[in-house]
Amino acid sequence: MDFVSNKEIQFEKMLKIIGVDCKEDLWKDIPRCLWKASPLEDDGLSEFEGLNHIEAIASKNQFSLFESYLGAGAYEHHVPALVQAVTSKPEFLTAYTPYQAEASQGMLQAVFEYQSCICALTGMDAANASLYDGASACAEALLMAMRLKHERREILIADSLHPHYLDVVMQYLGGHEVSVKLLPVLPDGSLDLEKVAIGEQTAAILLQYPNFFGVIDPVAKLFETSKKFGIITVLCGNPLAYGLYASPNEVHADIAIGDTQPFGLNLQFGGPYAGYIACRAEYVRQLPGRIVGMTKDAEGKRGFVLTLQTREQHIRREKATSNICTNQALASLSSLVAMLWYGKQGIAKLALSNYQRCAYLKSKLEGFSKVKTVSSKPFFNEFCIELSIPVREFLDYMRSHQIEPGLCLAPFKFERSNQLLIAVTETKSKAQLDRYIQLAGDLLS
């Protein structure tokens, strides 16, 4: 099937008006040797067959049968039903970038509200309309810091940053003259503060909150010291954590970034998620990507437009602050709806509930003899355990009971081959958590 509206009868009339005998005349500038023959034999599928095909593929996935305790940058949270209802509205789903602002006030106002919510959560003064994901947001923030401190050529990054994020950052920095130093991590997953060497050569310092291991590092202290040297302080954080823990503003961050996936976005096998970036007022003109601003129309009525566009690629080209064009609009709209659905009280309660369920599981596992919880430091949503039985045995046993118990850290660079990173969200009930504990106890007590 296809969705081409015009048929032979219309095309015949149209070709006459164009003034050609046949459609091939319209391809006369294409070298003949490049023309492919028309593949008439493969006319595709009907809607019914197409959907069946996808459902057959979907049925090969066992994952939905499992209770999952996987996190590591992608978290299972309830997505409010209103999210889908809003994002499937044709005017949002099938619109494009609001270049014609007068015909796009719906989307523009929604983005303005999204920017405002990000500022409310982070305590920052300005936010952009979204970036691709948390990983590229880290990269964009560091490039931004380098533009702000262009005489400095060193960047400090916590080695407890999500390894995927760090890889993406190194990819983006690869095209630039800069030296990256990693801040070492202790066995308990927290930053080794003794080994942090900050100086005037440093353009920026990037920390994650909570970090890859779920640990909350003493960010405020480190950032306060960094500010004395005029370093740009960059905090990559789970936005849900700011419903409980101190905001980027409160810990002296200059730039706040991360991924709003925990708000309103299903796991979707990794994407689309939605990166966010927010900063203090004095840095606004170096923000990458789209920004929506408030203005007035010809009759003095309030309206919204894309603004500060001279930073962007369609005007500045090779001198743009970023190459980003299409961003994650609909995904950030999903996050906006979820953030508003929870609202002022709900986000705080949601964050606390996430914290407490995680703390519960952590404390119960601590009671078993064949397991150690790796850290006693503050945490959010995740923690690591070290097993004294082979991890493989634990994984197989839990999986045989339809539980995906956590992420084995063996494939990562950290030399924690017998550790598991366990994430707990509000989606896990007491009964489910107790079942995890009981089954884990079979092997670990």
Binding site: L45, F66, A103, S104, S247, L267, K301, T326, N327, L333
Partner: protein, 484 residues
């Protein structure tokens, strides 16, 4: 509650929409250290579900989309976003999988990735690819990093330049800078094609590659494409194809056959994934044997009858995005391709070209047509003759909004004065195209008889003409309480 109020202005104390799963007394005692807690208030609105619902319904009424309006935005390919794709994307077995789940549990997701890459490879004449880039510009960055890795693997450190046409989309030079290259601009000639003499002068042992769109950003197929690719290869450079304009050549011409080494496809253009008000998109990158080793990770392989994720590879450039890219988006494109089959894709290309040429012919009385030769899927018109009445392309675009049509792209490409870039796509029926011509005729009438009406448009949208200069001069980028 007034229309168009910000959600923050609709806040009513204690009201809320949320519900939360019940907590158990056993964990209520757990609290983090007081010193670490958030001190400042969370300044988000307090709003009930019905008010939140109405708020977004109200916003939707002030927005144009393909579903509601003809949207001939050149270079964006605003074709129908089929609802069957939306249904597929919601299937929980595909939609609720964790990207780090063990391969055995997510064979379905991995199969989609593997098969889609094969299909895109056949369409593009490339042998391998990656679905990781989140959008076209991220794919450009990826492709350029691969080109860099290729030259470095040959021990060639001299190649520091990327050649880009003056008519290229802004992301091309921006991506080039991001990838650490110097951009060198090649001129277009009077026929809207690359000036081959100028290109020959620019090529040197410093050339890493050339980025090109074909058909060009003017909607014209470059008749000298084979000469261009040969010239660049002879100079030791590689060729990057910007796939934004792939729609009119689907299963008619393959970029690989034209001589390109690496390219991207915009799934949110050519393959109908929803534009979403500005994203998410998806920009798969595809390449030939020469560049295949450098593709980013993770990759999906089919070994021993099973799909496997390969997270690391020694020749790969490494990661360019987290996890597996925008899975839910490219899942839609996968179904779109399966529905069409190879012949359906060809019909898209043919329909897009006929629709564009028809519209171009019918608009001839009203605009200057700078490039009279047959166009592909889009074409450029100039509204410069109306400058006499003080009316610019900008004004005509705004007046179109009053007629319920989204304006075409204006002032791109930059080298054509008072231009509009019009791309109807193959989705549109003859009646819609004829109606658009009628609207243009009416607006031209207004320009002759009542130019003020056009110069002060739009009049019937939810706001009148907006002051963009004010927004940039005094940026207000978020709601704050003192705005009340």
């Amino acid at each position: 509650m007034k229309d168009h109020e910000l959600i923050f202005e609709k806040s009513q104390e204690s009201q809320h929409a949320y519900s939360l799963p019940k907590d158990d007394p056993e964990w209520l005692g757990f609290l983090p250290d007081e010193a670490l807690l958030r001190k400042g208030p969370l300044l988000l609105p307090e709003i009930s579900e019905i008010d939140l619902t109405r708020h977004f319904s109200g916003l939707a009424k002030c927005n144009m989309g393909i579903d509601t309006n003809f949207y001939p935005l050149g270079s964006c390919t605003m074709k129908l976003n089929p609802r069957i794709n939306e249904q597929a994307a919601q299937l929980p077995q595909l939609n609720r999988t964790h990207p780090l789940a063990p391969d055995e549990a997510v064979q379905g997701n991995l199969q989609v990735i593997f098969e889609l890459l094969k299909l895109l490879g056949e369409i593009s004449g490339m042998c391998a690819g990656s679905l990781l880039p989140n959008a076209g510009s991220q794919a450009e960055f990826t492709g350029l990093r691969m080109i860099r890795a290729y030259h470095e693997s040959r021990g060639d450190q001299k190649r520091s330049q990327i050649i880009i046409p003056d008519a290229a989309h802004g992301t091309n030079p921006a991506s080039s800078s991001l990838a650490g290259y110097e951009t060198v601009t090649v001129k277009s000639n009077a026929q809207g094609a690359i000036d081959l003499d100028h290109l020959a002068k620019l090529l040197s042992d410093k050339t890493a590659g050339l980025m090109l769109t074909n058909p060009s950003t003017l909607g014209l197929f470059l008749p000298t494409i084979l000469q261009i690719t040969k010239l660049v290869h002879d100079a030791g450079g590689l060729l990057y194809y910007d796939g934004a304009n792939l729609n009119p050549i689907l299963n008619l011409v393959r970029p690989g056959d034209m001589g390109f080494d690496v390219m991207h496809i915009n799934l949110h253009k050519t393959f109908s994934t929803p534009h979403g008000g500005g994203g998410p998109g998806s920009g798969p990158v595809l390449c030939n044997q020469l560049l295949k080793p450098f593709l980013p990770t993770p990759r999906v392989a089919f070994i021993n009858d099973r799909y496997q994720t390969i997270w690391n590879d020694s020749t790969s450039i490494g990661k360019i995005a987290s996890f597996h890219g925008n899975f839910s988006i490219y899942l839609r494109a996968y179904l779109y391709i399966k529905l069409h089959g190879q012949y359906g894709l060809r019909k898209i290309a043919e329909g897009a070209v006929i629709n564009a040429n028809y519209l171009k012919s019918r608009l001839q009385p009203y605009f200057t047509i700078p490039y009279p030769q047959p166009c592909m899927h889009e074409f450029v018109v100039q509204a410069d003759r109306y400058l006499n009445q003080g009316v610019r392309a900008f004004d005509i675009a705004k007046r179109l909004l009053d007629y319920g049509v989204h304006a075409p792209t204006i002032y791109f490409p930059l080298l054509v004065k008072e231009c509009m870039l019009i791309e109807p796509t193959e989705s549109e029926s003859l009646a819609t195209l004829d109606h658009f011509v009628d609207i243009i005729r009416q607006i031209v009438n207004e320009i002759q008889n009542d130019p003020e009406l056009v110069k002060t448009a739009p009049h019937s949208t939810s706001v009148k003409r907006l002051d963009e200069a004010l927004a940039a001069r005094q940026p207000v980028l978020r709601y704050s309480i003192k705005q009340r």
